[in-house]
């Protein structure tokens, strides 16, 4: 199910560059991943000052974050189709309420929308 979003990107763009940098990724990092500098910055904010992050951990979270975006987009898109709407809007408004109420439980509630 989640392989579908990856295939068009893989077919549309060259895989050679991605294979050279990281064999685990199926498409170009520059196009389909968020910048690792941003990810590293956010991670460091959540870690104690004496903690460090391994490079492979950053790269894995980079992939996890992209997968999260695809997952959320897919879920909301399914709901929009059910309600016959093309723009992802109303369902995201519910997320606002969730985010404002309980930050710590946003993932749990969001996944059960």
């Amino acid at each position: 199910m989640f392989n579908a979003p990856a295939s068009p990107c893989g077919s549309g763009r060259g895989n050679h560059e991605s294979s050279e940098h990281s064999p685990r990724s199926y498409f170009r990092e520059q196009d389909c991943f968020l910048p690792i500098a941003n990810i590293s910055c956010i991670m460091k904010k959540m870690l104690p000052s004496n903690r460090k992050i391994a490079k492979d951990a950053k790269e894995t979270l980079q992939e996890c974050v992209s997968e999260f975006i695809s997952f959320v987009t897919c879920e909301v898109s399914d709901k929009c189709q059910g309600e016959k709407r093309k723009t992802i809007n109303d369902d995201c408004n519910r997320t606002v309420t969730v985010l404002k109420k309980e930050e710590g439980a946003f993932i749990m509630l969001f996944f059960h929308l």
Partner: protein, 170 residues
């Protein structure tokens, strides 16, 4: 605290992820044809919170294991502990065998073989003894090639050296 202040203001929240990149990832879904700016903002914001959540949990795992560096295994444990994240992320994480790789390169560097020094000396003796007549017959240009060739069959010679140990000693 900083997070709470930003959320109270609402408008002042600054997204840390580039909008174009997030939008491109969202557009990978074939069903998505149009993404409003509000939806883009919300997905970016929830992605930030998700990353912070994962980073915090991974840090807790690292602390439990008394490690100063958060590595791949800590992320996997953190993902497994959270059911919703586990459902859609566990398949995306690299298999445990790959996670073990960063530990391997340090170990083989030392080559934990038994008694490398005496075996090395035995191998050298064997190489000098066996090909002596061939070396004299061949040109002097080939002697430097012999040690290069000798390096590759080191392993089988070491295996052979085990059985004729008493012969070498005598």
């Amino acid at each position: 605290m900083v997070m709470a202040d930003e959320e109270e203001n609402g408008v002042s929240i600054q997204l840390e992820f580039p909008k174009g990149r997030v939008k491109k990832i969202m557009a990978l879904d074939k069903d998505v044809k149009r993404v409003s700016s509000e939806a883009l903002f919300l997905v970016s914001r929830s992605t930030e919170l998700f990353l912070q959540f994962l980073a915090e949990k991974s840090a807790q795992v690292a602390i439990e294991k008394k490690r100063k560096t958060v590595n791949l295994e800590h992320i996997r444990v953190a993902v497994k502990r959270h059911q919703p994240t586990r459902d859609f992320l566990l398949d995306e994480l690299p298999p445990p065998s790959q996670a073990a790789k960063p530990d391997k390169p340090t170990q083989p560097a030392g080559r934990p073989k038994l008694d490398p020094a005496p075996r090395g000396t035995r191998c050298i003796d064997q190489f000098f003894r066996k090909p002596e007549p061939e070396n004299t017959a061949q040109a002097p240009g080939q002697p430097p090639e012999n040690p290069a060739q000798a390096q590759s069959p080191e392993n089988p010679d070491q295996d052979q050296a085990q059985s004729p140990v008493p012969v070498d000693e005598s």
